[in-house]
């Protein structure tokens, strides 16, 4: 018990003293997480819309692929990306291996199927009459999609928070392609793993608490944004 209590005390002290290393790791994680979520959702949500609303050859197969990719092991994604980005790989020229950009790419690959599959489910959950009504009132493709998105906004917000949560919590890909380099590619999850293995439980716990705080902040921010659009009103 003393060990745990001491760990919490040290974690709080690090948090309130704004330790430079802890702050740096947290900011890098936030940067990677937001960028990866933005790209993954920016690509995945439109794909989800398409999968939910368009009928085309191979649609079912595409849905199956996207749903299967939800359970893709993060370390395998990291491994494949490692192969692509390593010096002998097809993308070796980019020299992104062991950079934060590589972690972003890995996170996008992991979060994209989440965004696509959950967005498809969110759009499929909207009453089909909404889409038909927008169309019959003369709305074009984009206005119709926007109208459907407004109806599904709680579910779509959940898509974004789930994608963000997945991105900031994953460790396999970040460790493999990022390398956990201090001051460069060390994220909250890779740092927690490292400091725990080194026996610095207090620092690991402090970073873990920040991770939770980040997830909470993003959720609250999304809820505030929804509120401006009239949350709670049908």
């Amino acid at each position: 018990m003393d060990f745990l209590a001491e760990g919490f005390r040290r974690a709080l002290a690090l948090l309130f003293s704004a330790d430079a290393e802890v702050t740096g790791i947290a900011l890098l994680t936030l940067k990677i997480g937001l960028l990866a979520t933005l790209v993954a959702c920016g690509l995945g949500i439109p794909v989800g819309f398409m999968l939910a609303t368009k009928s085309f050859w191979g649609r079912r197969a595409a849905l199956t692929v996207v749903n299967t990719a939800l359970a893709f092991p993060t370390v395998v994604v990291g491994l494949l990306l490692y192969g692509l980005l390593s010096r002998r790989g097809p993308l070796g020229g980019l020299e992104w291996l062991y950079t934060w950009q590589a972690i972003v790419v890995g996170d996008v690959l992991l979060a994209f199927p989440i965004a696509a599959a959950l967005a498809a489910a969110a759009v499929q959950g909207v009453d089909p009459r909404i889409r038909r009504t927008a169309q019959t009132l003369g709305a074009g493709r984009w206005r119709t999609a926007w109208t459907v998105a407004r109806e599904a906004r709680f579910a779509l917000a959940a898509v974004i928070t789930t994608a963000f949560g997945h991105v900031v919590a994953e460790i396999g890909s970040a460790m493999t392609v990022g390398g956990n380099i201090r001051g460069q590619t060390r994220t909250l999850t890779t740092a927690v793993a490292l400091y725990t293995s080194q026996g610095d439980f207090g620092l690991a716990l402090a970073l873990g608490l920040i991770l939770l705080l980040l997830a909470l902040l993003v959720n609250v921010a999304l809820q505030v944004l929804q509120g401006r659009g009239g949350v709670g009103h049908a």
Partner: protein
């Protein structure tokens, strides 16, 4: 002119609509009448360009509609159970106008005008969860009218409305048609409503336009084989109708109201179908003409003159006999 030409529409492999030609001329009032599942809603969705027919064409002013966005701005559908978007009723009414780039002041003038005519002014600031089903239906019609379509398609527009609300709606539609050349195509299973306001009433059964008026349409199962002298006796409700047909299996059986002889006593005649019953309703739909509905085991409707009603002394609840020839029974 909005029209369907040579349309066959399938869901999976099942044919739900098979129509040679269906036209909604400019400024006309067309009613489609038929039982549930007859294809009315599908027909309206095809006309509204919300679905493409599996086979055949939708034409607008003679031109085959290929793209949809431009044509959709001229044809608007109000579904049987319409939905409102998030936001207030006013925001809902703004939707179609915003899409068309109407300016703010013009928008409010149009909205207030239509809302006044449909009696929904007091609802403008309410949200969808604060409205009854009937109110939602009226708001949906108003939302369709504000964009001033050339063709307004209505699917059972008064199914959730009380009598007064239905009257308000039909009055507003009549005013709109008097004001500008608006064509209205309405699907209903209520013949009374259809006859009251439509210039043209068409019956739809099993996805096909029936070649007779919509009364006395029955879904039946024709027995196999041929009976005496080509006659088949077909169960319709609790009566057996004699018909001349060589068809078997599921079919629609129709008797035109003008082919039914009405009397107080059974007539000695060649008619193979003679049914006694009681008058349930006398409807004066056109001057000098009365639709006599009677319960003879099923409800049948006959059309006779006012003089004939007077001479026969027909009154609701009074006795009546309906007779018609087996050859007057249409089977399709």
């Amino acid at each position: 002119m909005l029209e369907l030409v040579g349309v066959v529409h399938r869901y999976e492999s099942r044919i739900v609509l098979d129509i040679e030609r269906f036209q909604v001329p400019p400024g006309s009032g067309v009613a489609i009448v038929g039982p549930n599942g007859s294809g009315k809603s599908t027909l309206l969705r095809l006309l509204a360009l919300l679905e493409r027919p599996t086979q055949g064409e939708v034409r607008l002013d003679g031109a085959v509609v290929t793209g949809t966005s431009g044509a959709r701005r001229r044809v608007t559908l109000v579904e049987q159970r319409p939905v409102l978007f998030r936001g207030t009723v006013r925001e809902n009414l703004r939707f179609g106008l915003e899409v068309r780039g109407t300016k703010g002041t013009d928008m409010n003038r149009v909205i207030d005008n239509v809302a006044g005519r449909l009696g929904i002014t007091s609802l403008l600031d309410r949200r969808r969860h604060e409205l009854s089903d009937g109110e939602v239906q009226r708001v949906a019609v108003a939302r369709a009218l504000v964009v001033e379509p050339d063709v307004l398609l209505l699917d059972e527009p008064t199914s959730s409305a009380d009598r007064a609300a239905a009257q308000t709606l039909y009055r507003a539609l009549a005013e709109e048609r008097a004001r500008r050349p608006l064509a209205i195509c309405l699907a209903s299973h209520q013949l009374e409503d259809a006859y009251r306001w439509a210039d043209d009433v068409r019956a739809l059964a099993e996805g096909k336009l029936a070649p007779v008026t919509p009364e006395n349409l029955f879904r039946v199962e024709l027995p196999p084989g041929t009976g005496d002298a080509g006659l088949k006796h077909v169960c319709v409700g609790s009566i057996e109708v004699a018909a001349t047909t060589d068809k078997t299996g599921p079919a629609i059986l129709a008797v035109s109201p003008t082919d039914i002889f009405v009397s107080r006593e059974p007539l000695a005649s060649s008619a193979r179908n003679v049914f006694s019953g009681r008058v349930t309703r006398l409807s004066h739909r056109r001057p000098g003409v009365v639709h006599v509905a009677a319960d003879v085991g099923v409800e049948l409707v006959a059309v006779i003159t006012e003089d004939a009603v007077r001479d026969l002394g027909l009154v609701p609840g009074g006795p009546v006999v309906f007779s018609f020839k087996a050859s007057a029974v249409r089977v399709f």
